[in-house]
Symmetry: C2
Subunit: 328 residues, 2 copies
């Protein structure tokens, strides 16, 4: 018997989930739900329906877990609580400051519906959160460092695209090697924003645009760029397509801490990701946690959960004895 | 209220647990149990009893979790099941091949006593097992690589010490940088034992011993050294004490895998540890899981568990809302 999955929202992440379901033999895709006209949405899996999101109630008994692939700014705060009343749900809500509120909303809705909702699943929040939690519980006297990149930040790319005269843009977040090495040395350095990451932009300017003004507007943009050393490279639309069409990302979570009666020993725990495709990797994490949601729901559990609440064995398709023999 | 912990066995690991308890404000050390004469065992914590292991039954209601710090070869297979009938227990059983049998024995005993037993806790098995499980669940189409070191292998050091003419010895396991880099590149190389690790020995020879024979006996020793490129350095007892008295260790768990409709994207997940003190780090992991055993037992759970069965939040001393706000 396989776990019947629905995808809600068919952008980069939804397509990634579709691909991940093919790699997990105990899962099957039942339907893709879209707010667009379903007739205009072509998916990669033959024989699977594309359905208007308005008709999702009809799938209440046909889906074990719904993976919600909307955006964190406006979609998920509304969609996840609403859908958790009807389905076991997974989302990748990543607005860190609003996670406690989102948790409460999903918890109420999921309990009302007798369902499980696992929120903020992906790599940050998600796998990086787990790396932080485990390493904090082990090394209680220490310091945490999270570095992102090298990778494309969609938010920063969008911010550059909104500047007048910009036809297209891609922004890479790049961790500073010296800072990484200082952390790995166990020195527990205090690092400013500028010391941890640099930002590199590739920009296609519109014909006749003032490049000096664009560069200045980028480098002085508050929150996004002003606190960083930023490099701006103007390239052609052709170069953009050829060299910057992917969505790579990754990063490092490092905890450095002391043990011993007098704190005489240093330890470094490091978790890192190097991802060719940010949305496809995130999708793989979502599908693993969809399996956990299915198992928990089958046991009668309901309410909101995070990656912190899931016993790791629940993520695996292997029987418990096999996990113990092969992976412990 | 703090978690009352007992330490069973007071060697390097037991001393590490004692130090770790001081770093975890919600735990307290109640007693150290020893098979030696308690009068001859001096511990670092004032006001805490050292008790003969024969009298442990008298502590049944005074201890919430007993951390068993015996060896995997002959101690733990007997001690953990026996003690799980009386106490919630944690051990660091690390004979990989015998884990399923140990699990069953502890499960029966713990259920009989209405206790929780968490076995094979530490870094390998333990944190490395978690890294393997999580990364396998995410990247289902991939390959696993575990590298150990640079660090002191006690088993290999002991093997060298048993050679005639050897007064003292220390053996370092060293991962091969080229192999690590090949794995990180995503090439999924097939690596032989010799290609993954080298072994470096520091040996103090007895006066008049035949160093050439000792070196040859080390390098040709089956299982321990014959399959590796091994370097033997003869040093003085003084150098041994000055430069090799620590017990550093560490290693790398790397999973490399593909995603996408046609496996077109590569991903690397890497978890690594760099430890100044192997026993102290292991002890910190044991204490975090002792907290989880206490919480599970308080909920009425009983039986054997592994690191795979524990929701990560159970390891933390922080309230759930705080974990979500600060670490997710």
């Amino acid at each position: 018997m396989s776990i019947r999955i629905g995808i809600y929202g068919y952008g980069n992440l939804g397509r990634g989930v579709e691909a991940a379901i093919r790699q997990n033999k105990d899962t099957q895709l039942v339907a893709v739900f879209t707010r667009r006209d379903p007739a205009g949405v072509k998916i990669a899996t033959e024989g699977v329906e594309v359905v208007s999101s308005e008709n999702i109630e009809q799938y209440k008994d046909k889906i074990d877990v719904l993976i919600i692939c909307g955006g964190s700014a406006t979609d998920l705060p509304v969609q996840t609580p609403k859908l958790a009343k009807m389905f076991n749900v997974i989302d990748s809500f990543d607005t860190h400051a609003n996670i406690p509120t989102h948790f409460k909303n999903v918890d109420n809705a999921a309990k009302e519906g007798g369902n499980v909702g696992i929120i903020s699943v992906g790599w940050d929040p998600g796998m990086f959160s787990l790396a932080r939690l485990y390493s904090n519980c082990i090394l209680t006297d220490g310091a945490d460092y999270t570095f992102w990149g090298k990778g494309v930040s969609q938010g920063h790319s969008d911010a550059v695209r909104r500047i007048e005269g910009v036809a297209d843009a891609r922004q890479y977040t790049v961790p500073v090697t010296d800072a990484l090495n200082a952390v790995r040395s166990g020195k527990n350095p205090e690092l400013t924003t500028r010391e941890k990451h640099t930002r590199v932009c590739y920009v296609v300017a519109k014909e006749g645009a003032d490049k000096a003004r664009i560069e200045n507007e980028i480098k002085t943009m508050p929150n996004y760029f002003a606190d960083y050393d930023t490099t701006v490279n103007f390239i052609t639309a052709d170069e953009m397509k050829r060299n910057h069409s992917g969505l790579p990302h990754g990063g490092f979570v490092i905890r450095s801490g002391k043990t011993g009666l007098n704190g005489e020993h240093n330890h470094i725990i490091e978790y890192s990701l190097k991802l060719d495709s940010n949305p496809e990797f995130t999708a793989c994490v979502l599908v693993a946690f969809a399996r956990a949601a299915f198992k928990l729901s089958s046991e009668g559990v309901s309410g909101c959960k995070t990656v912190f609440d899931i016993p790791p064995a629940y993520l695996s398709a292997m029987p418990h004895e096999e996990i113990i023999s092969h992976l412990l």
